[in-house]
Symmetry: C2
Subunit: 359 residues, 2 copies
């Protein structure tokens, strides 16, 4: 099967084999060594010297953790959104009582650093900026280097949703002064869902010490406290740690820069292939993502039928659009375990099915 | 290895094999069927006709969910505790702003229904009662039948931590009017950690509709909404669902009553064995748990050394005491995948090590 949705992504044999390992004591020495070793290699892939914490939850739990650990009810925040996941990040903050200033960009376009600068200038109360590095729902990668530089000018806290970018698209956490960066196991990391991985720098820890949003299960301070003794405060998703232990080796052996270059190649190959089929991309190529490609169906293609025939007759699984893009786009995931052959198979299948699904 | 801690518990080959299955689309038909089928069989094991929800988190996340979905800041609650996990349940409620009335029972003794009755009579503002069915830290099983009957007299909401009892010790959720019951995958269910399973009855749903504690990732209403279309709101721990699919078959094929009887047998066998070694149990036998046995070390045994020698020389992994019982007791887990032979091996190893660890 070609599982070409934007997560969960296919797992390599090394990860699947690791998943079938028997349980061990999560408060014992063996798990402690595993946790420390996984954490050390995560810091390499996050390109950070700061803390990286593991929480047993989905990416959405990780986003919630980023908010509740650093903010207080009533805090003014700027939520930059250009799609479903940007909106979700803002919704979480609102749910916990933040005063959310929503800066919405048209779906399919990126967040504009200059607009963010103006918003920060206009409201000096803003304490934190929420931004999605790679918007999975529209296939847009935001210019996080420029955005982080703007946020840094104003010395605000920067909380980054890097769920579908980290480990695939370059994100030098420390160099870009990203205070909290959230990712999740089932994306570029090539392991099953169940773990969120989150970097927390000194500025974020300082914010944590004042943050009054309620938290218990997702508490950063508890996670850090237990990590120092090689544990997690609660029973962690041990099997996912086993698998991550295996895939981090694969990633670091390939070399981070090579992993990024491979994603760039398969991203470009996907976009070229789509265009050569006479289809157009939702976003402009200048901001098109190297982990997920969003293709316009407009009123010419029956997306549910395309998805169904690809799955049933070609064993290729792609995704439709979400929310207001439902039926309007389809999406091809190419993050984690993916190479040129996978894209070739996927594009060939799409080419064969297209004539059957045109209106 | 004999993994005889009170969770994570050993997984049978069927579960480990299922864990190594490749990922699928969590929004597709195949996962939808799996989720519906797992949920239906969970309802059988919970002995409920009400909703059972799956959240991708540890048991502590499930306890937090029980609180934040049914209560509002300022609500008076009665938290019955006789150990670490009862305290934790109370701590979570406090963290989210509940007015927590703590009813603490001596560690090693059970919660007394009559004391709970008096507390409910004394404070008519109390909205909900928190109780731990099986206190893992002391090896005590509370008399939930009597407690639930008292709570029912006063028509209060009953939130039950059944993390280390459900699927091992009889808990007829509906018959006992338990409004929210929380368990977790790595205990009696014989699969790795990563999933909490939670029943929510009509009375709890009514409480949910008024509850104002903030929640997003752990939101019950969202989980129910998505369950109706065979999905989870966020990306679920798919592998754990695969494994649970396998072990639910094992449990139901054995027969729930047989599973309970087996736990009763191994519990009794553990207690008898411990006594025949000249050791005493922490709790009175009348409330001793059939999933975890807590043994007094008092000042006669070096617990860390006992745990270490058992692990290093006999491949038997047991647990020490927690918090104020650290060094004072050791604990043997016997939940999930356990039979008489396992207990025999464990007891024989303990017998051999005892002379080496007496002060």
């Amino acid at each position: 099967m070609q599982l070409r949705i934007p997560g969960p992504t296919p797992c390599p044999p090394e990860a699947l084999q690791a998943m079938s390992r028997q349980m061990i004591n999560h408060r014992g020495k063996e798990f402690g060594q595993l946790l420390q070793s996984v954490t050390a290699r995560l810091r390499q892939t996050f390109q950070t010297k700061e803390d990286v914490l593991l929480l047993s939850c989905a990416g959405t739990g990780g986003l919630e953790a980023a908010i509740v650990n650093t903010l207080s009810p009533g805090d003014d925040i700027l939520a930059c959104s250009c799609g479903v996941f940007g909106d979700r990040f803002a919704d979480i903050a609102e749910q916990y009582g933040a005063k959310v200033n929503r800066l919405n960009f048209e779906w399919g376009t990126p967040a504009k650093p200059e607009t963010i600068r103006q918003a920060l200038r206009a409201n000096t109360n803003i304490k934190a900026v929420l931004v999605t590095h790679n918007e999975t729902s529209t296939g847009v990668t935001n210019d996080l280097a420029s955005i982080s530089s703007v946020v840094n000018e104003f010395d605000k806290l920067l909380l980054v949703d890097a769920v579908s970018s980290l480990g695939c698209i370059d994100l030098p956490t420390d160099d870009w002064h990203c205070d909290v960066v959230v990712t999740a196991s089932q994306k570029g990391w090539m392991v099953p869902p169940g773990l969120a991985m989150i970097s927390v720098n000194e500025k974020a820890w300082e914010a944590c010490s004042h943050a009054r949003m309620p938290r218990f299960y997702l508490d950063f301070a508890k996670a850090k406290d237990y990590l120092q003794k090689g544990q997690n405060p609660w029973t962690p998703a041990i099997s996912i740690c086993y698998a991550l232990d295996a895939t981090l080796d694969l990633m670091l052996n390939e070399g981070l820069q090579n992993v990024f270059a491979r994603h760039k190649r398969v991203g470009q190959m996907t976009r070229n292939g789509i265009k050569s089929l006479g289809l157009s991309l939702l976003p402009d190529e200048s901001c098109a993502s190297n982990t997920v490609t969003a293709v316009n169906a407009s009123d010419k293609l029956d997306v549910p039928k395309l998805v169904q025939i690809l799955r049933e007759e070609y064993d290729v699984v792609i995704a439709g659009g979400q929310r207001k893009l439902s039926g309007k786009i389809f999406r091809i995931g190419h993050m984690g375990l993916v190479n040129e052959d996978d894209i070739k198979v996927t594009l060939q299948a799409i080419e064969k099915v297209l004539p059957k699904v045109r209106y």
